[in-house]
């Protein structure tokens, strides 16, 4: 396990000050940036195995991308998809010639639903899952705030079960259109 965050300075250096070949470090840096962009692009196409409508980048599972390694974090400690996600990333990187890029898992800082991108939230809604409110923390945990039905948009909804089909979802019901739906738990 590696404790680290996005601000880690470990791989931001690497420049040498040689008077003989001053252009080499710049070129190396540019190549490295291109590689990071390419890896980021690949990761943005890796779907979450439980909710394939969103990518692992949308969900905030990818915490850092470096030229030599990708840092990911699990959503829940017991999430059974964690291993599958790692395998999918491995396969995607290998398929694009990045088999030398390592995958590291970090627990700190702990994943939060606030890390789900706005684009990810819209994709969840379109998929039929009510996205979690942002920064709602403890208030939403107690479900004081009604979820908006992802089908008809009504707020006249009620919780059926705080635990749903996967660790990240709760089961809700819309009283306006009578349809049940999943709500992404605020975490």
């Amino acid at each position: 396990m590696v404790i680290e965050d996005r601000t880690s300075p470990r791989h931001t250096g690497g420049q040498t000050h040689s008077s003989v070949t001053p252009w080499v470090p710049d070129r190396a840096a540019r190549v490295r940036n291109d590689e990071v962009s390419a890896i980021e692009e690949i990761l943005s196409h890796v779907p979450d195995p439980e909710i394939p409508a969103v990518s692992i980048v949308d969900l905030g599972i990818v915490r850092a991308v470096h030229a030599d390694r990708v840092v990911i974090t699990p959503t829940y400690t017991g999430c059974p998809a964690t291993l599958a996600i790692e395998q999918m990333i491995r396969a995607a990187l290998d398929a694009h010639g990045f088999s030398g890029v390592a995958i590291e898992t970090t627990l700190a800082p702990p994943w939060s639903t606030d890390w789900i991108s706005d684009e990810g939230r819209e994709k969840l809604r379109a998929y039929g899952i009510a996205p979690p409110p942002k920064g709602a923390g403890a208030a939403a945990l107690k479900n004081a705030q009604a979820a908006e039905c992802p089908r008809c948009g009504a707020s006249n909804t009620e919780e059926i079960s705080r635990f749903g089909s996967t660790p990240c979802k709760a089961l809700w019901r819309c009283k306006a259109c009578a349809e049940p739906f999943d709500r992404f738990k605020c975490h």
Partner: protein, 249 residues
């Protein structure tokens, strides 16, 4: 194992055994929603166990990983508290166990987030958010059953009676706990007792239930002196790795 490794092992064993117990409900719970809830809580507990047992093996440094510790130890080598190994009984008894344990675990992890050892702090910070859900789920059911029908109330009272004598062990500090606390890694569990009492009393009042009478506390889990129930649980949980050591699929 040194004190810090043992400390990680205890945290992992608590979660592992409770997770296994809850898993026994899968497909048997009173309603589909409850089945999902208990399975989810079990999954969270097994997830915590995976992290803490891996950490225990890492600190020990003898090449034992989480799986090795989970599946290749005998009953006397397990260091979980006696509460988590208690049989599920009926649904109320399971809820009583969860209620007492989850409130303890939430307080414990909240304090463990301040551990000087970043590895412990990271697991605690990750897990505490999940445990809050567990404590809420259990509390809701204590109220619903306690302040429910005559039948549900009687069962809730009985469930709490069964589990109550194992509560003191949660807060007991022995040499390992004291060493871990002194090193700035572990938590002063004795200090969690008061806030735990307050939480428990508040929910019991809401459920119109009396706090069970004080009993002679039963201790021993941390040093491997377990009830007969744990051996039966392990025979089920460990069967495959015992019969086919190292099997993978």
């Amino acid at each position: 194992m040194d004190a810090i490794a043992t400390y990680a092992l205890r945290l992992g064993d608590d979660s592992l055994i409770l997770g296994q117990r809850l898993g026994e409900w899968c497909g048997h719970a009173p309603a589909l929603e409850v089945d999902l809830s208990l399975a989810n809580v079990a999954l969270d507990q097994v997830g915590q166990a995976t992290h803490f047992l891996a950490l225990a093996g890492e600190i020990e440094g003898k090449g034992r990983d989480g799986d090795k510790l989970a599946f290749h130890r005998d009953v006397m080598d397990f260091t979980n508290c006696l509460l988590v190994e208690q049989p599920n009984g009926d649904f109320a008894q399971t809820i009583a166990r969860q209620f007492l344990f989850s409130h303890y675990q939430e307080l414990l992890f909240a304090a463990l987030m301040a551990s000087k050892d970043a590895r412990f702090a990271a697991i605690a910070a990750k897990a505490v958010k999940e445990v809050t859900y567990h404590a809420t789920l259990a509390s809701d059911w204590v109220v619903r059953l306690g302040d429910g029908t005559e039948e549900s109330r009687a069962r809730m009272v009985e469930g709490l009676e069964w589990m109550w004598r194992f509560a003191d062990e949660l807060f007991a500090m022995d040499d390992v706990d004291a060493a871990a606390f002194a090193a700035g890694v572990g938590v002063d569990k004795a200090a969690l007792r008061e806030p735990w009492d307050q939480r428990i009393d508040a929910v019991l009042a809401d459920a119109t239930l009396e706090r069970p009478a004080a009993r002679r506390p039963v201790l021993g889990g941390r040093s491997g002196r377990h009830s007969e129930h744990l051996g039966h649980l392990l025979s089920d949980m460990q069967f495959l790795q015992r019969a086919y050591p190292g099997a993978t699929w």
